[in-house]
């Protein structure tokens, strides 16, 4: 098994936005992850590919500890986000989730207005500490929607229900509402799989815009997407990381035969 060392190099804790060390995870008796050592670099887009059930989504969901909600999950090893162990004793899960936002396969806007959706997290975390003027809210709202390239499309519909937007707009909105609490990391679990090709292209373009400001870890089934929309790529198989490298290298000259077989479509 190759952890990051082969192609990426492995600096010390802190150089990565997300770093896992010897991460093992069990769902009940079933071991889903085996000694996963992953380093996700700050400010770039890292994609994770691999056949269904290989553990991509599990890794993603461990990074903001959303996985624990299942109750029967057990982990060993550690996960560092921005250099801090998120399984530490004094870690407040709400603070972790503020730093590590997550986007799901199916857009899940809340059944409230576009404005309230975008400001939901902001009001939850910021507006309870101090009085926030309407003007500041408007600013936060506009900046978040502009970052996801949605402002022009919805600026006249801010008080309409978010559930009335198109799927593509909904997915952008779901990303926009993470931004006002200023996360460092965005986790995306197949964010385009519910969208049509045009929607996929638009969301990919938007994700590319966020690159640099945020560290983005994106799980995808779509190899073409991984190839065109990520800087680094991680290939997983059966709960292990097989290969992690710069995307074009991984696709042009994979080091491992499993990787080569997968990207050539021999299984998965």
């Amino acid at each position: 098994m190759a952890d990051g060392e082969s192609s990426v190099g492995y600096p010390s804790t802190g150089a990565f936005a997300i770093e896992t060390r010897g991460l093992n995870l069990w769902y009940g008796d079933f071991q889903a992850l085996f000694d996963v050592d992953l380093g996700v670099k700050k400010g770039i887009i890292t994609s994770m590919i691999g056949p269904s059930g290989c553990g991509k989504t599990t890794v993603l969901r461990t990074c903001n500890r959303i996985i624990e909600r299942l109750g029967y999950v057990r982990t060993t090893g550690s996960v560092y986000v921005l250099g801090h162990d998120i399984f530490g004793d004094d870690v407040e899960i709400v603070q972790v989730r503020k730093q590590v936002g997550m986007v799901f396969q199916r857009p899940n806007p809340l059944p409230i207005s576009v404005r309230d959706n975008v400001l939901f997290g902001f009001r939850l975390h910021e507006a309870r500490l101090r009085k926030v003027a309407r003007a500041e809210e408007d600013e936060v709202l506009e900046s978040a929607l502009r970052q996801v390239l949605l402002w022009d499309a919805v600026k006249d519909r801010l008080d309409r229900p978010a559930t009335g937007l198109s799927l593509e707009e909904q997915q952008k909105l779901c990303i926009a509402r993470l931004l006002p609490v200023k996360p460092e990391v965005l986790l995306m679990d197949e964010p385009c799989s519910a969208l049509d090709p045009a929607g996929t292209e638009a969301v990919e373009e938007m994700i590319w815009q966020l690159r640099g400001d945020y560290t983005i870890l994106i799980v995808t089934h779509n190899m073409a997407q991984a190839r065109r929309a990520s800087d680094e790529c991680v290939f997983m198989l059966l709960g292990r990381i097989v290969e992690h490298g710069r995307t074009e290298e991984l696709f042009l000259a994979p080091e491992h035969t499993e990787t080569a077989d997968y990207i050539e479509g021999r299984y998965g």
């Binding site: 959303i66 503020k98 899940n108 809340l110 939901f120 997290g121 939850l124 229900p161 559930t163 993470l178």
Partner: protein, 289 residues
């Protein structure tokens, strides 16, 4: 080539027989309801007047109105609601939003379902033992209402839990992922989207509570009280119990009066149901998904 074969025709015959049977059963189901309502309206309507509704019974209850019973029923229902709604909604919130899925939770759920199946006369005896004797509330509105509350708790809990669980899980995920606590999620997303179902359950409970007789017989309802209840510690008349009395316990009650009481009782129940349905339609219209 495309003409019907013998097999086709036989399938169609069977299909129309099945349809006819189901249709007949549906009609058979509606007929008793119409007959009951029709009988009540025809025989009871002549008795209904403002005077009937707003005066007390006279002449050993063979004449006069039903005002104390009407007021008593309202007291009983309101006090029962005050007791059962907060407890029931809170319990449903816990079971649906917080409780881990383990043996204990499943046992509690099973107990609730079973509680709903306990005959009302058993509730009456429990209420008599617990509230009248043990807590020394004596026969009073309080004891009777608490008995009604215990009896209707399962309805409130089940109705509330079901409307909570009808809120899509994705909404909760979305909230939790933005760092909302469970309580923030409940308050901002789950409750606003399930309130219509909860209220429907509550109103249905009202209609059921107002019609119950057995649970209040031993615990607080009286055959005749010449004054209106002043506090929850008074005994009271109630429509359902009054109907039982005028139709089986007393002689010389004009038939018209008996049917009149029944008509008022069923009108209250139907009115509650109608309010409940109207409310649900209104709140559904507000829903945004």
């Amino acid at each position: 080539m495309f003409t019907a074969t013998a097999l086709n025709r036989r399938s169609y015959r069977r299909q129309s027989v099945a349809k006819a049977v189901f249709c007949l059963m549906t009609v058979a189901l509606v007929i008793p309801v119409l007959l009951i309502l029709g009988t009540l309206v025809v025989k009871g309507a002549p008795a209904i007047s403002w005077e009937f509704l707003f005066t007390a019974p006279t002449n050993n209850m063979t004449a006069g109105g039903i005002f104390p019973a009407l007021v008593g029923t309202i007291w009983l229902v309101v006090v029962a609601l005050l007791a059962s709604v907060p407890i029931g909604v809170a319990a449903a919130l816990y079971l649906s939003e917080y409780a881990p899925d383990n043996l204990l939770t499943r046992a509690i759920n099973l107990a609730i379902v079973n509680l709903a199946g306990v005959p009302s006369i058993v509730h009456a005896l429990f209420g008599f033992g617990a509230f009248v004797l043990f807590f020394r509330f004596n026969a009073s509105i309080l004891a009777a209402s608490l008995t009604l509350a215990v009896m209707t708790l399962p309805v409130v809990i089940v109705a509330t839990r079901e409307s909570l669980q009808a809120v899509p899980h994705a909404f909760r995920e979305a909230c939790w992922n933005m760092g909302a606590t469970r309580w923030q999620t409940i308050r901002k997303v789950v409750l606003p989207n399930s309130i219509s179902g909860i209220l429907t359950g509550v109103i249905l409970e009202v209609s059921r509570t107002s019609g119950e007789t057995a649970p209040i017989m031993f615990t607080g309802a009286a055959m005749f009280v010449p004054f209106l209840p002043q506090s929850v510690f008074d005994q009271t008349m109630a429509l359902s119990y009054h109907l039982y009395n005028v139709s089986t316990q007393l002689t010389d009650v004009p038939e018209e009066l008996t049917y009149g009481v029944a008509l008022v009782l069923i009108a209250i129940v139907l009115l509650m149901n109608a309010v409940s349905i109207g409310f649900r339609i209104y709140l559904r219209g507000l829903k945004k998904w």
